[in-house]
Amino acid sequence: MIHAKSGDDYFLQQIVATAFTGTVHSVFKHALNIRSDGNDEIFTLATKAMDRAPNTLVIDLDTLDHLYINQQDRVSVRDNQLLIEEKLQIAIHTATRWQCQLPIYPADRTSLKMNMIRVKQFIDLHGKGGGIKRNDLPVSEFEAETSRLLQQRTTLLYEEILNQRLDCFQTYATDLVGLGPGLTPSGDDFLVGLFAIIHLENSPCSMYKPLCESVIKMMQPLTNEISFTTLKKAAHGQVRESICSFIHAILYGTEVESIEALRRVLAIGSSSGTDIALGLISGLEANIVLGG
């Protein structure tokens, strides 16, 4: 029996309040995804190396290797335990509840402006290329072309926000979905960061909040289900813990705290962390310009 360490409030509600059943959608070393029979939504079981996140239950395991869990294995809930066939039993009652709480955008932007300079330098130095951050020597023509399109489309979206125009926001945002390498394409990752900033309370970009929530339906067929789930949650202001902590640190913390939190974001996936960070920076820069 494995114990759940913490769980996203919504996921725990689904497990407890509904007769939750599903099938295994995909399996990785540190996470596995489950598709709910009830609403086709994707939920994640993550090992303790991962941070807390929307739709995610963090369990007390180091790895999912050697459990021999396969795609299409059945998932059910019985006696407060989440079961994957006979292969994994997880006690739910031990999970502490978690919900993403984004910080409030501050009236005093002194810390933010100071931290931004250092954070941007750090991303320049340590961010991973291959997605939005272009590699000096792309490994292929495909990579070079992808980076070019990502640059072009993220710039268009940023300028649209700066000009406070609403008409093309959805088109430019949609053009990014599914674009880029990795399991969660770079364009999706960028939008996750940007959407999170748009959802900050008192955010000068908050006029785009309803657009995020409406555009998400158009995005579903454009990317895979795993990435879409993350994007959908971000479109409603729900992001993983490390992103939330970074936003808090850059808005209210010191330079050192901001960099420390940034490192955890950059560590996400391969180039995903860098792409998310660039989305966050883009949103924050727009906030500074629009909000003064």
Binding site: H66, L125, H126, S140, F142, V177, P181, L183, P185
Partner: protein, 517 residues
């Protein structure tokens, strides 16, 4: 041009694997371009832009994995694709390699009846129980875990001693047993020198220098950092010396540690007297007279310890490159440093490497501060703020709480490095880069952008900033030591050829006036 496309339906790889596989696939001989990615509409659009669209690609959906291989000639396509497939398959095989996994020490001991050694790295709360089980199953133990009480350590070591087994640790991070490096260790030549060490990076440094001087290692036995305390009484070091004395392949023994507690030192020296083989003693900052009186060979530095050991082991002195200090370089740097650039800042991943540089500096300089200073007057008041000459061990608990050890992730010192580099009173920054099993795959690479930034900043401000880098490793280590050193040198860093030389160079470069060597 020839293109092969395979679409794998509903197939998901994590991003790290996908991008790494994609990079490797593009390096396969004959491959002009390879794409391994998800079949989203936008990615298909890019594929169209680069002229690789095919009907199969058109059919791919966002949940499918696309593999596209383009080669210059048709006869290469199939073999190139098979090589890409092999990359994907090997990724799975690599994961399956350690398929035999045991949930308990007991079941592992039953499952592998020939095993005689257990490496244990679990939470400290469970470490004692697991180590005891291993000893009860007649397994020698290397216990990497820390947070074990001294009482438990004594109990485990007593049990091991009674059973004639090694109990290496707790908190033992380095060993080489039967030519196999365990936890943090370097790839060194097999030879006739045995090491018993209570210091991780200290023993790594001595083993690497022995290799560099043409010698080799039989066994490197770690004891754990607390073994030479009064409470533990040096049980493992004493048993280690006896084991190497009895080992036919070992001709010379080297002991590496900080100075033991006085009563323990007596026991160790008594053991040296009884030993039938020459023993070189490198107790950092230790007492030469007592060692010599016991019949041991005293070494003041790690380099001296290695040199004495290889000479005793029969290596021809004439053939050894002793890597003398570059005195003209020292003079050159002194001339470049402004009068206010008086201080050294040592930023180390290895605790003993930090200690060695610090002790060398203390011989000629005053006011040496550190987070690991023995003298409480010179302990840093705030570990995040340097004072005069400062030597930081980033592997100390102060810095590693909840974070990976800097040997695993040296980037943890980047911030501090940039902070020190901005200080106009700093003349020399000295750093170590540790290669080998368990360490970061490119320790120099992760620091390089910061080094370049610091150099550029100093130049802009009209200062010379001297950065000394020491790469602890051998020509057998991965990554390649020459490549790491070249990266440093190309970035304008002065390469020190040993831990000892790094400490000496730093000290001599900031010395002014009469103290010049």
């Amino acid at each position: 041009m020839s293109i092969k496309v395979v679409i794998k339906r509903n197939t998901y790889f994590d991003s790290v694997s996908l991008m790494s596989l994609s990079t490797k696939a593009n390096q396969i001989e004959g491959v002009e371009q390879a794409i391994i990615g998800m079949g989203t509409e936008m990615n298909k659009g890019v594929i169209r832009n680069v002229g690789l669209m095919t009907p199969e690609v058109e059919e791919a959906t966002a949940g499918d994995l696309m593999i596209i291989v383009k080669t210059t000639s048709a006869d290469q396509t199939e073999s190139a694709y098979l090589a890409v497939e092999e990359l994907l398959t090997n990724k799975d095989k690599a994961q399956a390699k350690s398929d035999i996994k045991y949930a308990t020490i007991d079941s592992a001991a039953q499952g592998i009846p020939d095993a005689n050694f257990a490496v244990i790295s679990v939470n400290g709360a469970f470490a004692v129980r697991e180590a005891r089980k291993a000893l009860e199953n007649d397994l020698h133990v290397m216990l990497f875990s820390d947070n074990v009480s001294v009482e438990d350590e004594v109990e485990l070591k007593t049990l091991a001693h009674e059973k004639g087994l090694l109990m290496m640790g707790p908190d033992c991070g380095t060993a080489i047993i039967g030519n196999t490096g365990l936890c943090f260790a370097n790839a060194v030549r097999k030879g006739n020198i045995g090491i018993v060490a209570a210091s991780g990076t200290g023993s790594q440094e001595v083993s690497v220098r022995i290799h560099d001087f043409g010698g080799g290692i039989t066994q490197l036995i770690g004891t754990g950092g607390r073994d030479l305390s009064k409470e533990v009484g040096g049980m493992m070091m004493l048993d280690g010396i006896k084991a190497l004395d009895a080992d036919e392949a070992t001709k010379v023994i080297v002991l590496v540690s900080k100075p033991p507690e006085a009563s323990v030192e007596k026991k160790v020296l008594a053991q040296i007297k009884e030993c039938s083989k020459p023993v070189v003693v490198y107790f950092i900052g230790g007492n030469e007279e007592a060692v010599v009186a016991a019949g041991g060979q005293f070494a003041k530095t790690s380099k001296e310890a290695a040199l004495k050991a290889v000479l005793l082991a029969g290596i021809d002195e004439a053939g050894i490159n002793k890597r003398a200090l570059n005195i003209p370089l020292v003079e050159e740097v002194r001339a470049k440093l402004a009068p206010e650039q008086k201080y050294i800042r040592g930023l180390f991943c290895g605790g003993t490497l930090c200690d060695e540089s610090m002790y060398l500096a203390m011989e000629k300089l005053d006011n040496i501060y550190s987070n690991i200073q023995k003298n409480p007057d010179f302990l840093l008041k705030d570990i995040n703020v340097s004072q005069e000459h400062t030597f930081i061990d980033f592997g100390d608990d102060d810095f590693t709480n909840g974070k990976p050890h800097p040997m695993i992730d040296p980037s943890s010192r980047i911030e501090r490095f940039l902070q020190e580099a901005k200080d106009p009173t700093v003349g020399v920054i000295v750093m170590d880069f540790v290669l080998g099993f368990g360490s970061h795959e490119d320790p120099v690479g992760v620091m390089l952008p910061a080094i370049i930034e610091a150099k550029q900043l100093a130049e802009k401000e009209g200062r010379h900033l001297e950065i000394i880098g020491y790469v602890l490793g051998t020509d057998l280590d991965t990554p390649n030591i020459d490549e790491q050193v070249t990266k440093l040198v190309n970035a304008g860093v002065t390469h020190a050829s040993s831990s000892t030389n790094a400490g000496l160079l730093a000290r001599e470069m900031v010395l002014k006036g009469e103290n010049h060597e």
